[in-house]
Assembly symmetry: C2
Homo-oligomer: 218 residues x 2
Amino acid sequence: MPATSAKRKPTRDAAATRERILKAAKLEFAKKGLGGARVDEIAERAMINKRMLYVYFGNKEDLFLAVLEEAYADIRRAETRLELEHLEPIEALATLVRFTWSYYLKHPEFLRLVNSENLHRARHLKRSARIKDMHSPFIRLIGDLLERGVEAGVFRSGIDPNQLYISIAALGYYYLTNRHTLSVIYGRNLGAAPALDERFAAIEDMVFRTVLKVPEKG
Amino acid sequence: MPATSAKRKPTRDAAATRERILKAAKLEFAKKGLGGARVDEIAERAMINKRMLYVYFGNKEDLFLAVLEEAYADIRRAETRLELEHLEPIEALATLVRFTWSYYLKHPEFLRLVNSENLHRARHLKRSARIKDMHSPFIRLIGDLLERGVEAGVFRSGIDPNQLYISIAALGYYYLTNRHTLSVIYGRNLGAAPALDERFAAIEDMVFRTVLKVPEKG
DNA sequence: CGTATAAGTAACTAAACAGTGACATAAAGA
DNA sequence: TCTTTATGTCACTGTTTAGTTACTTATACG
């Protein structure tokens, strides 16, 4: 019995095959969207026979949903590792703002997948049982963070945690997904390092001016 | 000579046919993206023979670029009509913030087209000669607006007009394009009227807290 | 009035596409 | 060892797709 934990033989490993398909699909869907992605391309990239893809995931759209769920699980797992509940309110917020920006920057495939899903009006995600449960703890966390800040006298009261989180996401997400068209419009490469740093500074500034009770000196 | 201004006969009107193709293409591309859009569908919707589409626009991708250029021209034309240069700085900024939100809300096809183009890393827009010229006057306008506000003593100095405009766009754009996945995550219809009003209030608040020199009373 | 040409049509093609039916083989337990 | 089942392969299909070839008809102008 070569147990589940031990290294398996290279042939006939269902779990590994599934993983390879999922990884290849993530790449292909992120690159070309749902409509543009090619099942044959995914199969080739995963080095499996196309038939297996249908055995494991049913069809193209179900595979897309599986990819999306995994992508969301990844970011929420990473957020959990921040342990914001153990940080001072200001530090916690700064950490969250920086994390959100960095994650989007390091994981462009996440942005592209979410964009594709929204192009389809969240048709697939609506069918997902896991998604909502994945997010509710995180939403509560931000509410707690704001409350702690108000109690400590550093944050304004009356800030809606949902709106705040949407704004933090928006300020980075929009810039990063739209940097290609924005670069054409502004005639400047907004994906280059100095431009990215400038943008992050602007985001941080905006969030803290919105949340802090006492304006900074200057 | 039934001049250009007079009403033309319904048959064999090249300009009208071109317009119909463009309008149908905008709808189809906005709905399904570049990869998902079907040329046959566009032809049917425009009530033309598919062949004409290739005569007028070359191919699918060139047609997509034409649609994009038109969409950008539309929003920039609408912005020009605001005549921000004739308004007081605070009123001008408030007008711009409200306009940007309303335009995105009323023209979801614009957001979807821009998203699609960014999925393709602005491949088409990069080839466009018109785009950059369309935007530079507008970018200057926001710089002037901020300067006037600083001189009048109502705005902080040192605000980057580019970052500010990107933020104004971001706060609305992200919410509106991603409202479908966000609605699933938050378990609440973010496209409904009360949620939209809440969001706009949050955007306005954030922008003015960032820009105003003297914090509001309260 | 006749003809050049712009505007439009019909029918087709070659390739790409998602999905499947029938078959083969490795692994694990009886 | 034998049998079952999970894992994997091969070759195919019916449809859809962007783009084209060959043709027709309305209209403007000499």
